[in-house]
């Protein structure tokens, strides 16, 4: 039911996934009057889906606290998250209200054992390929331990999504002042160096311009600066696109040049296509949740669902549990992995 266009965009998006991931199965939650008529026009999708009518749907402008209060357990959003908790689904994907989705996911799925606060991870285009940035908005502030946990979560995701054995991880910091950066960032750096984890290659501090350069595979920061970085990058991309459009339409010569180079511009547009990297991944919970951009189209929805699908196939949650166990059991006596995983999953 979520996003700017609801089922009219979400369902065609799922139909696209089905063309590319033939074994996928969908459990759909929403109002039947909105979903069923469209589902009827997509027979292949209908055959691969189970539909559950939900009277209530969370609105895009509901406050998270409202979404939690008013009949929350009847809403399509809650039911979709609950399906992950109950094992009826492997991953929940929503294009709805981010704050409500995160609040419900925290209440329903709970955080993994040692994790205090979950993070939202974004996939970011770089000159080399792509990187993961987290947290981009679930937290404000956070201590060194939290940043270390984010590094573990992010490197596990890079392992699953980019199929890297030992992803390069950097802590986002600033380089201007004498005492460079925040205390907690420095402490987190020391902790990661001391831990010497097999699962990641901690390379030290990175600055804002390193994100787009692709200096590392995973950029770790707390949610305030991470969200500002993400939105600033989006704003900068729009600014440059606007400049380019303006420059290309200003003279006849430029317009002719544009015609010749049209395929090159399509290529550029494709490279910068945010739909391809659509999907904020909620990490640190005992189940997987992917938040799609609300304003995206069917292709964007498909990308978010496929991201979820691929993370499930590559057993992201198992990797996260094992990496967290290994880190947090480190100073003490090594806990029995199976028991720790079960405790973490509670």
């Amino acid at each position: 039911m979520g996003g700017d266009h609801g089922p009219s965009v979400v369902l065609p998006g799922l139909a696209k996934v089905l063309e590319r991931r033939a074994d996928v199965q969908f459990v759909l939650f929403g109002r039947s009057d909105a979903v069923v008529p469209i589902l009827e026009t997509l027979p292949r999708l209908k055959a691969a889906s189970t539909f559950h009518h939900c009277e209530v749907s969370v609105r895009m402008d509901d406050k998270p606290s409202q979404a939690l209060r008013h009949g929350r357990r009847d809403s399509s959003m809650w039911k979709a998250i609950e399906a992950v908790k109950n094992g009826d689904a492997d991953v929940c994907v929503s294009a709805g209200n981010t704050g409500a989705l995160m609040a419900m996911a925290k209440v329903c799925l709970k955080t993994l054992g040692p994790i205090e606060r979950p993070a939202i991870a974004a996939i970011w285009p770089t000159i080399k390929s792509e990187c993961i940035v987290l947290d981009v908005g679930a937290t404000i502030g956070g201590d060194a331990q939290q940043l270390v946990d984010f590094a573990i979560l992010g490197s596990a995701m890079a392992h699953a999504v980019f199929q890297l054995e030992r992803p390069k991880v950097g802590l986002l910091n600033v380089g201007v002042e004498e005492i460079k950066g925040q205390e907690q960032v420095k402490d987190a750096g020391q902790m990661l160096r001391d831990a010497g984890l097999d699962s990641m290659d901690y390379t030290g501090f990175v600055e804002g311009d390193d994100i787009g350069k692709g200096t590392v595979d995973v950029v770790v920061t707390e949610g305030f600066s991470g969200n500002i970085a993400l939105k600033t990058a989006e704003g900068t991309a729009k600014l440059i696109a606007e400049y380019l459009r303006d420059a290309m339409s200003r003279t006849l010569m430029a317009k002719i040049g544009y015609l010749f180079a049209r395929s090159a511009f399509s290529r550029l547009r494709e490279k910068l296509d945010v739909r391809k990297v659509n999907g904020g991944v909620f990490l640190g919970l005992s189940g997987l949740v992917v938040k799609s951009h609300g304003g995206t189209d069917a292709e964007g929805i498909a990308a978010a669902v496929e991201l979820g699908y691929d993370m499930v196939r590559r057993r992201l949650l198992d990797t996260i549990r094992a990496d967290l166990d290994r880190y947090h059991a480190r100073p003490q006596i090594q806990a029995e992995p199976a028991a720790a995983a079960a405790a973490a999953g509670q």
Copy 2:
């Protein structure tokens, strides 16, 4: 002596300023063996300049504390700042080590009366025109009062540089979480609303993508997130330029298109030319200091100097003193402006 290329770029930059601001006069500090030979080739510049030989120069990789310790009062950087303090110069411009420059400026010039920590303000291109973002790296963290002070400093600079009567001011924040954003940002917003200052139009919170949109004339934040935003925007611009270059050189048609649209591409390059908006302005000190990018060319140096020149001409420091007085004297009995300004200048 500062920057990647020293006097070989700085002096030609000053010569450019002289062509455009005929009444400017320069007080130059540096090693005579590096400066004098180049100055001899620029007779007009030589005639408009006073040169002071300084044996010591701060290195680009000196730590600020080192720069303050070792013979600091003999260095060209210190002497240039001191010239502002002594009234021998109206503004100090340096392409040198930012951390050392800020540390020396704080020690030599001191902060203005009620200001606890100075900020670095950057001019940022927007879809509409330009805006000012501060702090981009002088501080880490900061309380609500500090953000309010930054708002006053930034709006005074927008008044001087953009010649706006009542600049629009926004506080940088995030919009994802229930309890939106940092406590200190919320408190600062309340304080600015309560103050109802004539000198600015406080419009509320803005997010990262609002910077490039030009939603406001002044974006206020503490230096950690401000520096990350600035560097992330730089990185994104480089990323897109790289994509564009790649797309335009990939096929014959694209190359032909590029030839036709060459002037449009020059126009774009000009729009994105960081040299034009070169210059971080140190605000909150009892004198003006402009930090030029170290890697810039003569045109960039000229832009930084002209920014300083224009701020002096438009009496930025007087505006800042008056605005700070008005704000800080607000709850108490109105202080005598002249006396307060004198006290602030100590």
